[in-house]
């Protein structure tokens, strides 16, 4: 759930935009480098952004009987890295604000910080640590998707708590309040999103290898190894990199 248009006081909206700006600028620089180096990845980047948009537009059934939206940052981070996700996620948020009425223009900075910066950073860190601990790609993608989602919503709760501190409990009290409200839907939802991320990564490795190799997500194995990967061996044998 993104912060609605105009919900944050002006000072907070401007402050969060200023905090997000360096990440956004760095992301644009990285994105231009990727596009210059791999011109054909333009469609894959746009596809990923549009996929994140559709993912976040889908309503998932939750155990509380309500429905909520996944963030979709885990998949983008695993494929492209956290720096590229800053402009990509901000673009998705802009379209969400203009086409789906989720979020807004004044709260774009705050929403971008939670969904396009904090979430992807955590997802990337979790993915990297999981791979270093020799977790399989599926497990690492699941953890990245789940933790990225939780990080996004914890950041949103912190942003709302900073803007509207509790009369008695201050920031901590307000953070617990907003965090509890989000937790009802986000804990099960994040697990579902993690599962979906793992499934999609697995399918991409099986069927979209050329794009993943081009983006340096996986290294091009020697011919005989590639034959093994396409045959009896598991895709996990192909070493993944950490995005372009």
């Amino acid at each position: 759930m993104h912060i609605a248009e105009g919900f944050l006081p002006v000072g907070h909206a401007v402050g969060w935009t200023a905090v997000s700006m360096p990440f956004f600028a760095h992301g644009i620089y990285r994105l231009r480098c990727v596009l210059r180096r791999y011109p054909n990845s333009r469609l894959l980047l746009a596809t990923s952004a549009a996929f994140i948009f559709v993912l976040s537009a889908l309503k998932l059934p939750s155990i509380t009987g309500s429905s909520s939206h996944p963030t979709g940052v885990g998949l983008g981070t695993v494929l492209f890295g956290p720096s590229v996700m800053a402009p990509l996620g901000t673009m998705v948020l802009l379209f969400q604000a203009l086409l789906l009425a989720h979020g807004g223009l004044t709260t774009l900075g705050a929403n971008a910080f939670s969904m396009a910066i904090a979430g992807p950073c955590v997802a990337s860190w979790v993915f990297g640590v999981s791979r270093k601990c020799r977790a399989s790609l599926m497990v690492a993608a699941f953890l990245a998707g789940t933790m990225g989602d939780w990080a996004t919503y914890l950041t949103t709760a912190a942003q709302l708590a900073l803007a509207f501190p509790d009369a008695a409990g201050g920031f901590a009290g307000s953070f617990v309040k907003f965090g509890s409200v989000f937790a009802i839907t986000q804990i099960p939802l994040a697990i579902v999103e993690g599962l979906v991320t793992a499934l999609v990564v697995d399918l991409l490795i099986s069927y979209s290898r050329p794009e993943l190799v081009e983006l340096s997500f996986i290294k091009e194995p020697p011919d005989e190894e590639l034959a093994d990967c396409n045959g009896s061996r598991s895709p996990d044998h192909c070493a993944p990199c950490h995005g372009p």
Partner: protein, 250 residues
């Protein structure tokens, strides 16, 4: 599970022929007023003006307009429910209603609603092609290209998703919670693969036709009328003046 993409009916509204710059002044001006004016009565005036412009002047369908309001309303209601609750961590965890003025509790919600109605005026009345010249001025060309491509793909994805969801629904794919999650996972995986394939074919087709790096779009660029912009600014200043004088700030 449901999938709903609101149809922003910019093709069927009376502001269709209006220059994009003029609509941008209206939407941006009202948004700025919603953020900076005192909530009572400033945001109320902005809300009424934005709704009147959309429903009466631009003739946006009331059903489309109120459907779009549902999501921000749910966020605002959630905020209004949580804000008056006070959580104390001293001497154990206690939760009680704080003695806040009800009008004070509604302030962020009302400001948010008026800001949203101001913002949505632009996408409801303006096709994206008309906004591209403005986007080109603030973003690098590569990124604008990516934004345009993503915008196009979003609608391709949405159509494909809707068709796949209907097919799954017809086969009782969403009749229980476990089957809903299974159906959703397979829908997303199949969707990504299908659209990647479609993109690959699109890229090959466009390359074969000698397409360069950028996609050219035709748009009817109309210059802004200075009189119209001046009258809009005057009306916005009138709203600001009226709100401030009402509060005794002038």
């Amino acid at each position: 599970m449901s999938f709903h993409m609101p149809h922003l009916n910019y093709q069927h509204n009376r502001w269709q022929g209006k220059p994009a710059g003029e609509k941008l002044v209206w939407s941006g001006g009202l948004l700025a007023l919603a953020m900076f004016l005192p909530v009572y009565p400033g945001c109320l005036f902005v809300l009424i003006t934005a709704a009147a412009l959309a429903l009466l002047s631009a003739r946006i369908g009331p059903k489309v307009y109120f459907c779009l309001l549902l999501y921000p309303m749910s966020f605002i209601l959630l905020g209004a429910l949580v804000t008056p609750l006070s959580l104390s961590l001293d001497g154990g965890l206690t939760l009680r209603f704080s003695a806040l003025d009800p009008l004070k509790v509604l302030e962020p919600g009302l400001r948010s609603l008026s800001a949203f109605c101001s913002m949505i005026l632009l996408p409801l009345t303006t096709p994206s092609a008309d906004l591209l010249p403005f986007l080109n001025k603030i973003l690098p060309e590569d990124l604008t290209e990516l934004v345009v491509l993503t915008h196009r793909l979003i609608f391709v994805f949405c159509d494909t998703t809707e068709q796949m969801r209907q097919a799954q629904d017809a086969r009782l794919g969403y009749c229980s919670m476990p089957s809903a999650y299974r159906s959703l996972s397979s829908l997303l995986a199949a969707l990504l693969l299908r659209t990647l394939d479609r993109c690959r074919r699109l890229e090959s087709g466009l390359s074969a036709r000698g397409l360069g790096r950028s996609l050219c779009m035709l748009s009817q660029r109309q210059p802004c009328s200075p009189n119209a912009v001046a009258s809009t600014v005057l009306l916005l200043a009138l709203i600001a003046g009226l709100s401030l004088s009402w509060r005794g700030c002038l």
